[in-house]
């Protein structure tokens, strides 16, 4: 398989991804409530600026401004018919920036969740989910994305639907889930369970991992869970720059650039190959992260204690893996089913 990401992975033992999209766009004047994807058309200069911020800070890959660019999300703005087109433009702008970088930079076509709960619990059928993801995938492909990049997924069903859609589009891809509920995804998926799910896919991703979630500490605990599986597939770590705090009427993320540099080093020591940030991660964070990844040597895999010492405490005592996996007694059904 030859694509820009796989080629980079052959020659490098770590890659730096980008940081926040939303936080940066809000700083550039995006109004909350507006679809960021509209800016691909209305303010292409600002979107290129967003991409350049990552490239200039040393990122080897960046995600396109198409996270909410699927029909299901765009419907909230009456733009459901424009999913393919807006996604295509986001990738075209990315192609332009990457090709001028003077070094190999991967354009990763961002694909976010549909925001719907999947059948039978919710209204979204597997077939429709595949169709929605496929439409966006084709748009990103037409715009010149090197790979597709599924992110912030909670439900394994949705991850599988995207995998199927990306196969239809014949595109290599990466996919991360968001572990934000007691160390699991909102739908209860542990890091261990994600590895098993990924390895069973007919069309597995080039790399898999975690993004967003709670804070840097939680994210690294999840990465440790991935690497404990011993699976060779490269791991992605894209954590938030700390936790948002509300002070004197405005919000800031409490993760400093120095803390994110520490996080980047520890993510690599935890076994991650592709390391970046998510919400709150700005250019100054990326610069420090890049500097640290370049200049500091690899260390042994950190323990949970070392993670909390350097990056702060976890949001929950357990994340449902390892010795904890069976610690919670499953309540026994007294009724015969079916």
């Amino acid at each position: 398989m030859t694509n820009a990401l796989s080629r980079l992975l052959e020659t490098r033992d770590w890659l730096m991804a980008d940081g926040a999209t939303g936080t940066n766009l809000f700083n550039m004047g995006l109004s909350s409530g507006d679809a960021p994807e509209m800016w691909n058309e209305e303010h292409p200069d600002r979107i290129k600026k967003l991409y350049s911020l990552a490239v200039d800070a040393g990122s080897d890959l960046f995600l396109t401004n198409s996270f909410g660019g699927n029909a299901s999300r765009l419907k909230l703005h009456g733009a459901e018919k424009r999913a393919g087109e807006l996604s295509r433009i986001s990738a075209e702008l990315g192609r332009d920036v990457a090709d001028k970088a003077g070094r190999p930079v991967v354009v990763a076509g961002s694909v976010g969740p549909t925001g719907e709960i999947m059948a039978p619990m919710g209204p979204l059928t597997h077939e429709l989910a595949v169709e929605i993801f496929h439409e966006q995938a084709e748009g990103l492909k037409a715009g010149g994305a090197d790979v597709l990049w599924l992110e912030t997924i909670s439900a394994p069903e949705e991850y599988r639907a995207a995998a199927e859609a990306f196969k239809l589009a014949d595109m290599p891809w990466c996919g991360t889930m968001s572990f934000d509920t007691a160390g699991r995804t909102m739908m209860g998926v542990t890091s261990e369970a994600m590895v098993k799910m990924v390895e069973k896919l007919e069309n597995p991703p080039i790399a898999y991992g975690a993004n967003c979630g709670v804070g840097a500490s939680d994210l690294l605990r999840t990465v440790l869970g991935f690497s404990a599986s011993g699976v060779e597939r490269p791991i992605i770590a894209k954590g938030n720059a700390g936790i948002p705090k509300y002070e004197d009427g405005h919000i800031h993320y409490d993760g400093t650039p120095d803390l994110m540099a520490e996080y980047a080093i520890m993510a690599r020591d935890c076994g991650a190959t592709i390391i970046g940030g998510c919400c709150g991660t700005m250019a100054e964070h990326l610069e420090k992260m890049h500097e640290a990844l370049e200049s500091r040597p690899r260390g042994p895999r950190p323990t949970l204690e070392q993670i909390t010492e350097k990056l702060g405490g976890f949001s929950s005592a357990s994340d449902g893996t390892g010795d904890d996996a069976n610690a919670v007694p499953a309540r026994k059904s007294r009724r015969r089913r079916g």
């Binding site: 909230l76 209860g188 919000i251 919670v328 007294r334 015969r336």
Partner: protein
């Protein structure tokens, strides 16, 4: 194992066992069994309000606690809420007919500028599962939208949700407007969303910040009990 695999005949259970079994069935998300249980209790002369509060709300309380404690996750909770809904569908007209007290009515929506609705949808589903009436205002709600709906529907609770740090301050706009209009005390105001915390809830003058859907249900029940100034419903 062997005796556990025997099929349970709900109609052969006495009232106490049946209530217990229905709570288990709710936990397991067995909709048809819940519907059957509700019908049996009605046939035995139970009042609709007692059926609502004892096996159903009682059962959902356990589901909510295990969700809060990280034992159950969203898929299981949705199944349970769906089973609960099956029971509620039978009970609702009877509750209206008998003039039984309602558990509470909530208008809920994401605030102006915020289009992220999955958290709000989960809260709505779980609140419904717990017997609350829900008026879902959808996404991107201005202050007028909340207040008009709350007045029109005679709501007890206004629920606001935000996923973005840029939209959460709008909650304060809604609460400040309520104060200006002198209607702040007419409603219980609950707020939630990933970037919020308790300090924020206090700072903007909400009654409570709810960390997740299970906490929202528990908090709503506590405030409703206070509002009615009566002990939690007993037979």
């Amino acid at each position: 194992m062997s005796d556990e695999e025997d099929d349970i005949i709900l109609s052969e259970l006495d009232d106490e066992e049946l209530v217990q079994q229905m709570m288990d069935d709710l936990y397991d998300g067995l909709k048809e069994e819940i519907e059957e249980g509700v019908r049996i209790l009605l046939d035995r002369g139970w009042g609709p309000y007692d059926i609502l509060t004892k096996p159903l709300v009682g059962g959902m309380t356990i589901v909510g606690a295990d969700f809060r404690d990280g034992i159950l996750f969203v898929p299981e909770v949705l199944l349970a809420a769906n089973a609960m809904k099956g029971g509620m569908f039978i009970l609702k007209p009877l509750l209206v007919e008998t003039g039984a007290p309602t558990i509470g009515k909530m208008v809920i929506g994401t605030v102006k500028g915020d289009i992220h609705d999955i958290g709000k949808n989960l809260v709505a589903m779980m609140m419904e599962g717990a017997g609350f009436e829900i008026v879902d205002l959808g996404i991107n709600n201005a202050v007028e939208s909340y207040l008009e709906a709350a007045a029109k529907e005679g709501a007890d609770i206004i629920g606001m949700s935000a996923l973005l740090t840029t939209t959460m301050p709008y909650m304060k706009v809604v609460i400040d407007t309520m104060k200006e209009q002198g209607i702040r005390e007419d409603y219980i105001v609950l707020v939630g969303g990933a970037p919020l915390n308790e300090e924020f809830g206090k700072a903007i003058g909400a009654d409570a910040y709810c960390r997740d859907a299970a906490v929202a249900v528990e908090t709503a029940k506590t405030y409703m009990a206070r509002k009615h100034n009566r002990p939690p419903a007993e037979a």
